[in-house]
Subunit: 165 residues, 2 copies
DNA sequence: GTAGCGTAGTTGAAAGCAGAACTATTCCGC
DNA sequence: GCGGAATAGTTCTGCTTTCAACTACGCTAC
């Protein structure tokens, strides 16, 4: 955000922008607003009820599902769509809470393993019902089975394009 | 995030959580991941190409569409799904760039108007093609017309539930 | 008119985050 | 085995966001 760069301001525009028509605008806005509002709502409710933000919750879930409840930092970052830096900070904070601990990786001296502690697992168990109830109330309860199917279809289609980052 | 509160830990659970089955899990994950990846991607590309984050872009768009390119702070915050505080900070930073200025509101001495400057409008004009191209490439180009319709339908349905914040 | 309450918006402190720079280890070719 | 590139992770810096005060004005009733 520090660079107010205008990119190679071309004397002639490279190509006419493919503007959105009114219908596309509506579709885009509906998607954007609903996505923002839903994520916001779920995060807020979870945080207020349990003290665990959705980002932290995702980390705990990933670890709880991993073999021996441990995972390499990079793998965990990918799984949580998080940057290395962000994950490193987040794990440090979870460590302060006693929910995660770090171990050096046996096979690779550079590597670190994030390990879910029993306390961390307990915290996750307490939070899970709150989270699932939020997803039900604000998402599944609002949609017909067909809409759910469509939502999944659109999501998976987009993932095929965006997925292999 | 500072309070690790467990909420009134009930001796007996209030109700059995309505867990997600495997299909629902997949639908939820597809939605969540695709939404995060898409927003992330659009924000990143826009920021790198123009120096304007998606959050700032939304503010500029809202102002550019408002009568006389000006809008009350609260109204603008609502329009951008932003907290008052966040918007106030953001407008201050846009003001430093010379893209927005504040005016006191004539009708209500408490009120402030955010006004888009000519420089701000020019910055928006430069950024808009980049933004629209991103939305096309990563969203509309990936979906069939039917999928777009479904996406809109789901979005609007969710909005009816989440909308009146 | 003025006390008390509600509303509009700002501010300050602390937490969170991205990106770049940095450290430490491994891998590879010779 | 050794120099250099690649990889794993952390740390540093600066920006952004949140939350909780706080200021200032308006509204209503007495």
């Amino acid at each position: 955000m520090s660079a107010h760069v205008r990119p190679t301001s071309p004397p002639a525009p490279v190509a006419e922008p493919r503007w959105l028509d009114a219908e596309e605008q509506k579709a885009w806005r509906a998607w954007l607003y609903s996505a923002q509002l839903l994520m916001d709502r779920l995060d807020r409710e979870l945080t207020h009820a349990t003290g665990i933000s959705h980002a932290y919750y995702e980390i705990l879930v990933a670890l709880s599902e991993a073999p021996e409840r441990r995972m390499r930092m990079s793998e965990l970052a990918d799984r949580c769509l998080s940057s290395r830096s962000r994950l490193s900070h987040a794990v440090s904070r979870l460590q302060e809470r006693g929910w995660v601990r770090r171990e050096v990786c046996a096979e690779d001296g550079r590597g670190q393993l994030a390990v879910l502690t029993d306390a961390g697992f307990a915290a996750l168990e307490a939070a899970a019902p709150v989270h699932v109830e939020g997803v039900r109330t604000h998402l599944f309860d609002q949609l017909t089975p067909e809409q759910v199917q469509n939502m999944r279809d659109v999501g998976e289609t987009l993932l095929r394009h965006l997925g292999p980052r």
